[in-house]
Amino acid sequence: MDAATLKKKLKGLGFDFFTGVPCSLLGGIIEALGDEYIPAVREDTALGIAAGAYLGGKKPCVLMQNSGLGYSLNVLTSLNMIYDIPLLMLVTFRGFEGKDAPEHLIMGKHCVGLVEAFGIPNKVPSGGKDDLDAALIEAGMEIAKGKPYCIFIKEDTLE
């Protein structure tokens, strides 16, 4: 899926507050979002800001690399998940199938298991456009129930 289409779909689902920390795989969507994307200093800070935006009536989406999942876990478990503060997380899947720089390999091996272990609904869409579409629709349903939802973005997910 190209960045402009993803932006359109996110907007169509009602997402209206975007923050995060970049990954090279997110370059296109961050550029497409332009001034609507608020650069955060850390991933947990991005989640905190997104939670505040939700409390102010927004529907937030946080973008990050999976290296930021570690920082994020305390906020997810002790803020989002206990207060029913939902958000969409677009998390790049660095280290997928062990093919990446060394710093990504361990997180790449375990990131899906990590969010599974904490009971965070998630999806790893394959390269096809329809698969990301399906994940976004499922995300919308989980978010309506007050849950965080994590979509892992692989190298072939976004153009």
Partner: protein
Amino acid sequence: MIMREAITKLISLVKDEYVVCANGFISRDTFNAEDRPRNFYMLGSMGQASSIGLGFAMARPDKKVVVFDGDGNLLMNLGILTMISKIKPRNLVHVVLDNECYDSTGGQPTISSHIDLAQVAEGCGIKNIIRKESGEDIAPAFKDCLQKEGPSFILLKVERDPQERVPRVNIAPPEIAKRFRNG
């Protein structure tokens, strides 16, 4: 002035503003001093009260937001000062109650006795900077910040009460969020 007295004073000056409270005794003291739907009690996610306040301030530019932060909390998320400086939310008042310790875990020292957090905020370029020693009257400066254009940063030095025994917040977290969001 001990922190509980400072919080009791500050919350008595708040009218229709939204107040985001950091975890530990800051939330507990605020809850026990004056519970109101527009108080958000952060129970975990240490460091993030300032982030929540910033996000809320951006989402609701028509409403004034006050953060009751702590020194340990701010030191854990110091980068937020750079974001507040960059984003310049006019409706944000960031109060740091600095007792130079991690109070609710037993009073272990933070390093804020060596670091002037108001100078850090000033160095980041935050618009209004106030620094008050323990015992100084905070009311006029706080009331002024509630009125004027922000962002404002208030460092209020306070003392720890070693006998602090206030009850915990007894509202379920989803209810805290719901009433704040609907407030």
